[in-house]
Point group: C2
Chain length 256, copies 2
């Protein structure tokens, strides 16, 4: 059995379910720490800052600092910065995206931005969407943190950022560049961040369409854990299977 030198780990459905604890997650990450194996949480959630994500993980007894968190907001900001560090940006999004853009010192601009970037925004308004549409039509490059169509909550499946992004995509007929899983952009950056080669890294997640597909596309082995979205039944319909499948991370403890 191959041993991996680094772990990329999904959050919701893998480390917790919404506000609910996944018991075995804590022991799993503690074992990585004990064995001195680097790990990075890779999340499509653009709304929170790394410090906030780490706080939540620690409250669930999962060892984590901000340095263990890599969000799609950070990946989007890095991507834009590499293209044009002087760029102006019109943003629709919450605190996490705003912080990532400010970290890179992007200039915020409503009328003629170089980029329009969309992340989940639960204070969305028609005016925000209108500004995004007008800017994209004028030629701003259109970026979206992730294409997730639905967000699981206690109330049920709420609109995800992919569905909000569709307002601008449908209205302008211009497709955005998506940054988050399953796109390669976030994975390439996460691999660079953790500093271990793809062959020696394992991607762990509960969602085939985001986590596992992201791993497959990035040439990283994958471990699907059935504690979230993708059920054993759903998994049978996919042609390319994950490298490994477990019902709970407990089953993986002796393979770390």
């Amino acid at each position: 059995m191959k041993r991996y030198k680094a772990y990329l780990i999904d959050l919701d459905g893998t480390m917790y379910r919404g506000e609910e604890k996944i018991e075995e997650a804590s022991d799993f990450v503690k074992q990585l720490v004990a064995m001195n194996i680097p790990y990075l949480f890779v999340t499509n959630n653009s709304s929170r800052r790394p410090e906030q994500v780490a706080d939540k993980l620690r409250s669930l007894d999962i060892p984590a600092g901000p340095e263990h968190v890599f969000t799609t907001s950070m990946a989007a900001a890095n991507y834009m910065y590499a293209e044009n560090p002087e760029a102006s940006v019109y943003m629709i999004g919450e605190e996490g995206l705003e912080a990532a853009l400010k970290e890179k010192e992007f200039r915020f601009e409503d009328e003629n931005p170089d980029y329009v970037i969309m992340g989940i925004d639960r204070d969305i308004t028609y005016e925000k969407l209108a500004k995004a549409c007008l800017a994209v039509r004028k030629g701003a490059k259109f970026i979206s943190t992730n294409g997730d169509i639905a967000l699981p909550t206690e109330r049920g499946l709420m609109p995800g950022n992919g569905s909000l992004t569709s307002v601008v995509a449908v209205s302008t007929q211009i497709k955005p560049l998506f940054i988050g899983k399953p796109e390669p952009i976030i994975m390439e950056q996460a691999l660079k961040e953790i500093g271990v080669s793809p062959e020696d890294t394992l991607m762990v997640g509960d969602n085939y369409d985001t986590d596992i597909l992201a791993g497959i596309r990035a040439g990283v082995d994958t471990l699907l854990v059935h504690t979230g979205v993708t059920t054993p039944d759903m998994l049978t319909s996919y042609k390319t299977q994950p490298t490994y499948v477990v019902h709970s991370l407990t089953e993986w403890m002796d393979k770390i």
Copy 2:
């Protein structure tokens, strides 16, 4: 040259452009009145009540009462009423849609409605979209007043109802039933309202993709006027041409 016994007429781009007058529109409608030819304005604009639309037309010296206005909100309410007059409804929309639903005495219901109906809503919120998504996932029938992706304004092309509708369609993966032009539903009702057979009716409009296509699909002859969206250049790309094409309605005066 065939003479038509009734006219279905588009508004924006045909009778006016936003707040701007189209000079020849007034004489055109006055000629219909003088010759005692029935006419009905058929509009995808769901936001206003027929009284408000007629007021605007009269302010542009175009003869019109509420009885001359047929909106997609009215068509949607009629459609739902024919299916289920006792239905409960969750609505996203503005004054025109609300009035049309109240006219039919539908019961408004947030949680478990029989229908979710979406029209343009410039006070859209995440919570409104979330309620629509939750209800559609629970089995509410999903209806949208129209699929227009963009609204022409002085500021440029703003998000249309079709693009707002896409949030719910993308998130739930359930397609709505569209009511407005170019769909047959609004045309069938408008023809019934005006009470003249399709063969003797002419559909007049500036937009091939909505007005002309609606006429073609409804078996009604069409007159495209180049005072709005579809330019002569754009028109060459369509296989099925309108029955008639004019640059301005002045050219049609002696054919009424």
